[in-house]
Symmetry: C2
Subunit: 160 residues, 2 copies
């Protein structure tokens, strides 16, 4: 149970005034991310030794079997060399596999191994549970609204 209510225009963190920062979306996103990052680090990174990039990669492949490295890099806003390195690490760990592309001999499809699929499913369950716990103060309707608004922001990303 919370003890004191913070002043109206204060950062949740240090009870500081935000001023113009209140309207800066990038700042509010960063502050909110502190919470989700902590949840991730405790429930996934710490438990399953999975970085955020790695988890997201596995989750995207799970839903889009056969993605290429270029597609993943684009989706995650990562550079190609970094994406390759992360993929390589997960291949060596036995979580994903590279398979030849049907029509383009340069490209490689990436698929989950059984171990990878099991891991990503466990991680997703852990995250959803932990986020729900951490955000118990928000109603399901508020969380849904937040998700849709965030998707609207993300949708304005310039294609590359």
């Amino acid at each position: 149970m919370s003890t004191r209510k913070p002043p109206p225009d204060a950062t949740p963190a240090g009870r500081l005034r935000e001023g113009a920062l209140h309207a800066v979306l990038g700042y509010q996103l960063a502050q909110a991310s502190v919470v989700t990052n902590a949840v991730f680090d405790e429930q996934v990174a710490g438990v399953h030794d999975l970085r955020k990039v790695e988890y997201t990669t596995l989750a995207l492949i799970e839903q889009n079997e056969g993605l290429t490295a270029a597609q993943l890099a684009s989706a995650l806003a990562f550079t190609a060399p970094n994406m390759a390195a992360w993929i390589d690490r997960m291949v060596k760990r036995g979580l994903i596999e590279r398979e030849p592309h049907a029509r383009d001999r340069r490209a490689l499809h990436i698929r989950l191994t059984d171990a990878g699929r099991t891991l990503v499913q466990r991680a997703t369950a852990a995250i959803c549970q932990a986020e729900a716990d951490a955000l118990a103060g928000m109603s399901p309707a508020e969380r849904m609204m937040l998700t849709e608004l965030l998707r609207k922001v993300a949708a304005s990303r310039r294609a590359r």
Copy 2:
């Protein structure tokens, strides 16, 4: 003008299915941050040579004159050594100053110089304008709602 409407359950980035990831707040925050980070890099980092940490530090000091390094580190979820390094860099650049604390001789108040104040005000104006441009597809009401929901998420951060 948008050409095609993306499929219902697709990432804005690569037109990929999200699946369970749709409900993972950390993922949606990261995707939305791609947009605001790009805005920041182009309009602030690139123009005024200011990192996100630096800008936020200046903006918080502007509204909370005399903050200490410990308070800033807490507000930004930074470690003390890193906060000290960022502060040091901005002091050397003439954007902020350290002043002795009235009652605690260990601590130091941090204040903006005139140059720092001018810079942070210009940066804030640039960000607000650029974010508004980038998010032209969202109504003011939607943006306000988003801000409040994000603050609600951030408010659930565990105190430290």
